[in-house]
C-alpha cells in the first residue's frame, strides 16, 4: 500500500524571474550618470570626490540620495533615477 506523503510549503511560493543584465556602456560620454548616496556616514564626501573627477572629464552627473541607510530607497527615488539617468553609481562608505 502506498501512502500519500507531503508537507506544506512555508515559503511565499514565488519563483525568481531571470532577466538578462543590461550590458555596460562602452563609453560614459554623453550619458547621464546618477551618483546615489545610500545614507551611510560620509557617503556624500566620497561622492563629492567622484563627482569632481567626473566633472574633470566633462561627464554629466546627477545626485540622488535615500533618506537613511536603515531603509530601502523610496520607489519614487528609484523611478526618478530610472527616468533621468543612464547609469548609476551606488556608493557605500563609512
Amino acid at each position: 500500500m502506498t501512502t500519500e506523503l507531503w508537507l506544506r510549503d512555508p515559503t511565499a511560493e514565488t519563483a525568481p524571474l531571470r532577466r538578462a543584465r543590461t550590458k555596460p556602456p562602452k563609453s560614459l560620454d554623453g550619458l547621464t550618470i546618477a551618483l546615489f548616496d545610500i545614507g551611510k556616514t560620509r557617503s556624500d564626501e566620497f561622492l563629492d570626490q567622484v563627482e569632481a573627477r567626473f566633472a574633470e572629464r566633462k561627464l554629466k552627473v546627477r545626485r540622488y540620495a535615500k533618506p537613511t541607510n536603515a531603509k530601502v530607497a523610496p520607489p519614487e527615488v528609484i523611478d526618478r533615477v530610472a527616468e533621468e539617468a543612464d547609469v548609476v553609481l551606488i556608493a557605500l562608505s563609512d
Partner: protein, 360 residues
C-alpha cells in the same frame, strides 16, 4: 485524533499552501533541510495535522494577510505564519504572540529590511509583557535569556524563520551580517512583573496595566554587566554607565539604542532606595554623558570617534529615549545584561522599537 481526521478529510479545503510531496523512504526532517526551510537546527515537519492544530491557536482566518515580508516583500498569510510556527516548534497558544511580534516587525519604523540586511549583529529581540506571558509559560526568571523554555525559544525562532522562508532573507544572500550572533536564531523573553511597584515596559510605552504586549527591539544578545560591590543606587548607576558607554565602541555615541535587563539583585538596590523606572533611566542617561574631547576621532590614539567639531560638547551615549530598562533574571547574582542595539540609529526618528498589543 480530531486533528488527524480533520487533516485527512478537510485540509485540502482549508489549507492553501502547496503540497511538497516526498517519497516513503525519505525522512521528512531531511526534506525540510534539503528545501532550505531550516535555520541550521532541525525543524518540525509541517504536516497538515500540525498546521491545522497551530491554526486553532488564533481566531484569525488562515487567509488573512498580515503584511509583506522583506526583503522580497512577499505576502504573508496567517497560514504561512502557522506553518513557520510548526517548523520552529511553537505550541498553538503562542500564535497570538507570534502574530503580534510579526505585526510589530512590519511597522516601517522597525526597519525590518535593514535589520536583516545589515552587516551588523542585529535581529529582532522580542520582549513580552502582560498576562499572556504567564499563560503560555514564558520565562522571565532564571536563565530568561538562555535556553530551556519552549515559548521563549520558539516564538523568537518562528519570527526569524518567517523572514527567512516567506521574505526570502537568507544568510549570505540578503542577510549580509559580517559575523552574525547567536541571538539571530532566537531572542525572546518575558519581563518580570512580580513587583507591583515596578512599571512594566509595556506601561512605560503607553499601554494599560494588564494589557499583553510584544515589544520588538533591533539588537543582539548579550553583553554581561558585573558589579558585586556597589550598594547604593548612585554607585550602581555610575557603574552601569561605564559599561553602557562601551556598546559598539566607547567613542561612538547616539547611533545605537540599548536594552538593560536589570536582574533582581541589582534592581533591589534601586528599589530599596525608592528609585522607580523614570529615575533609573534618567540617572543612567546622565551617567553616560562624557566630554566630547575624549570621544573625537583620534583621541587616545584611536581613529574611531565623533567629529572634531563636537570636542567642546558634553555628549550622552544615547538619545533621550535610547535606553529601555527591563526586569528579568534569577534571584541570585549581581549581574545584569545589556542588549546592544543596531548602530544604524543615527537618525532617531527613522529607527524605533515597536510595541503591539497581543490580540486573540
Amino acid at each position: 485524533m480530531a486533528e488527524k481526521l480533520e487533516a485527512k478529510y478537510s485540509a485540502a479545503t482549508q489549507l492553501a499552501s502547496r503540497r511538497i510531496e516526498y517519497g516513503e523512504h525519505d525522512d521528512p526532517m531531511e526534506v525540510c533541510f534539503a528545501r532550505g526551510w531550516s535555520d541550521g537546527l532541525p525543524v518540525t515537519p509541517p504536516t497538515d495535522e500540525r498546521i491545522l492544530r497551530m491554526l486553532k491557536g488564533t481566531t484569525r482566518a488562515p487567509n488573512e494577510v498580515i503584511g509583506r515580508i522583506p526583503p522580497y516583500l512577499a505576502e504573508c498569510t496567517v497560514e504561512k505564519v502557522a506553518i513557520n510556527a510548526v517548523l520552529a516548534g511553537c505550541r498553538p497558544e503562542y500564535m497570538p504572540v507570534l502574530l503580534a511580534a510579526l505585526e510589530a516587525a512590519l511597522e516601517p519604523v522597525f526597519t525590518l529590511h535593514g535589520v536583516l540586511a545589515t552587516t551588523y549583529f542585529s535581529s529582532p529581540i522580542v520582549i513580552v509583557n502582560g498576562p499572556i506571558a504567564k499563560r503560555i509559560g514564558m520565562n522571565s526568571g532564571l536563565n530568561a535569556l538562555g535556553q530551556g523554555n519552549r515559548a521563549n525559544a520558539t516564538i523568537g525562532r518562528a519570527l526569524n524563520l518567517i523572514v527567512q522562508n516567506v521574505g526570502g532573507g537568507r544568510p549570505g544572500e540578503a542577510d549580509r551580517s559580517t559575523l552574525g550572533a547567536p541571538s539571530k536564531f532566537t531572542c525572546c523573553f518575558a519581563e518580570d512583573e512580580s513587583d507591583p511597584e515596578w512599571e512594566p515596559l509595556s506601561v512605560a510605552r503607553g499601554f494599560p496595566r494588564g494589557a499583553s504586549t510584544v515589544t520588538l527591539f533591533q539588537g543582539h544578545a548579550v553583553e554581561a554587566f558585573v558589579d558585586q560591590k556597589s550598594r547604593t543606587p548612585e554607585a550602581l548607576t555610575r557603574s552601569l554607565g561605564m559599561s553602557l558607554v562601551k556598546i559598539g565602541h566607547p567613542k561612538l555615541v547616539q547611533s545605537a539604542r540599548a536594552v538593560l535587563v536589570l536582574s533582581p539583585e541589582h534592581y533591589a538596590i534601586y528599589r530599596e532606595a525608592g528609585w522607580d523606572r523614570r529615575r533609573i533611566e534618567r540617572a543612567l542617561h546622565e551617567a553616560t554623558i562624557r566630554p566630547g574631547s575624549e570621544l573625537v576621532a583620534g583621541a587616545d590614539g584611536v581613529g574611531e570617534g565623533i567629529p572634531a567639531s563636537r570636542a567642546n560638547e558634553q555628549v550622552p551615549k544615547f538619545f533621550e529615549d535610547g535606553l529601555m530598562v527591563v526586569r528579568a533574571g534569577g534571584s541570585a547574582g549581581l549581574f545584569s545584561a545589556i542588549l546592544p542595539g543596531w548602530l544604524a540609529g543615527r537618525k532617531r526618528e527613522e529607527l524605533q522599537p515597536v510595541t503591539k498589543e497581543v490580540r486573540a
